[in-house]
Symmetry: C2
Subunit: 254 residues, 2 copies
Amino acid sequence: MSELLILITNDDGYSSKGIKALINAVKNLGKILIVAPDSPQSGMGHAISVNKPIRCYKTNFFDSVEAYCCTGTPVDCIKMGLYLLKDKKPDLILSGINHGSNVSTNILYSGTMSAAVEGALSGIPSVGYSLTDYSDDADFQYSEKIVQIISKKVIKEGLKKGTCLNVNIPNIKENQIKGIKVCRQGRAFWDDTFDHRKDPLGKDYYWLTGSFSSKEQALDTDINYLENNYVTIVPTQFDMTCHDSVDELKKWKL
Amino acid sequence: MSELLILITNDDGYSSKGIKALINAVKNLGKILIVAPDSPQSGMGHAISVNKPIRCYKTNFFDSVEAYCCTGTPVDCIKMGLYLLKDKKPDLILSGINHGSNVSTNILYSGTMSAAVEGALSGIPSVGYSLTDYSDDADFQYSEKIVQIISKKVIKEGLKKGTCLNVNIPNIKENQIKGIKVCRQGRAFWDDTFDHRKDPLGKDYYWLTGSFSSKEQALDTDINYLENNYVTIVPTQFDMTCHDSVDELKKWKL
């Protein structure tokens, strides 16, 4: 069997601690290509660079691992990685480890998870990893073990075509972790507001802010399990059709 | 019954022809609030402004209709619109009319549709409209009729909580339109590449480009019906769980 090829990106940027932890966890599993944003891209969702060109330059930041910095979004980075590889297809695409969780509807806003979804769109088994710790110096030691376990399993078993995994890891001591749960995306929403400020010239500007509201959570969701000290895995796909509604709406006289 | 409140945005920017057509189509249905990007935001997907503040300023561009320009993304515009309305909730959120189609997996990349999905996340009936004509001076005359018909129907019937509609209109003469079809999201993908160029200093830069590959299309998809001269409606939701895979992955020994 030839050596595995693993394409890696993230949304916190190439110099974040999380991507180093991810690389450290899988460096013995195959050959790695890193294409990561040159600056933080949190909240970029599935954005791509349509109206502006991007730069992509080689970096020696990761010692012996081939790596590129890209001025684009996380999804741009996946597209650029596949472009750089030409005819070779990666066996696995990994994204993260994100500083902060990506459970529930955060999958829509998350650059980390959108990169994994882009991998699924390309037909390549893909996993996005997130740790529930937003700090720059988060401790990824236990996360590295989880990345190894799940990535090896994905390599061995494969994933259903057109799917990826959304993995979230609680920020607690290893001996407090209760296990790993496969579950569904929870139903929760941002209760948004804006922090309205005046600049030095007296003109208005706004910071988007808010709190994540996860009331009425069902038991079999990522939100619930993560809160109860489990690592969560949500198999994720990109068909957004509300199939239940198709027949209902066909009754409309239009 | 009190007057309806309609929040409107798009991703082509406030000065595009498409948003004017949308406003023209629904201006008699209720009170309108416009919060639209101040510059083109195509391909911004579900991006939000996390790392930078945004500006939002009133504009008289739309004559007697209350309108704001926003430096953020289409999803930011929806969040800002809801913020500006304070305790009042809009009865309807409309996005578009987009210059260019948003069928199939384009829903992930589309700022127009992400704004409608954000509306669904907020629990408000929402519709994204797109015409298959990318040109700045596209003819939206027939589209306005479609917007009226479907928007009125949504006001009358409502939508299932947590869903929105993805409406695509073919760019053909009105008498060639075969009808309106409710259907599912087609399975198609971008065959991406990059146009690699050198700047005047000899340094590399890249334009993302590619073609949309829609081979092997099933009959009951938006791609197929749109190609066959139907207006398409895909009821859209935001649970990305691959429910088929949950039980399968539970068998993994982790």
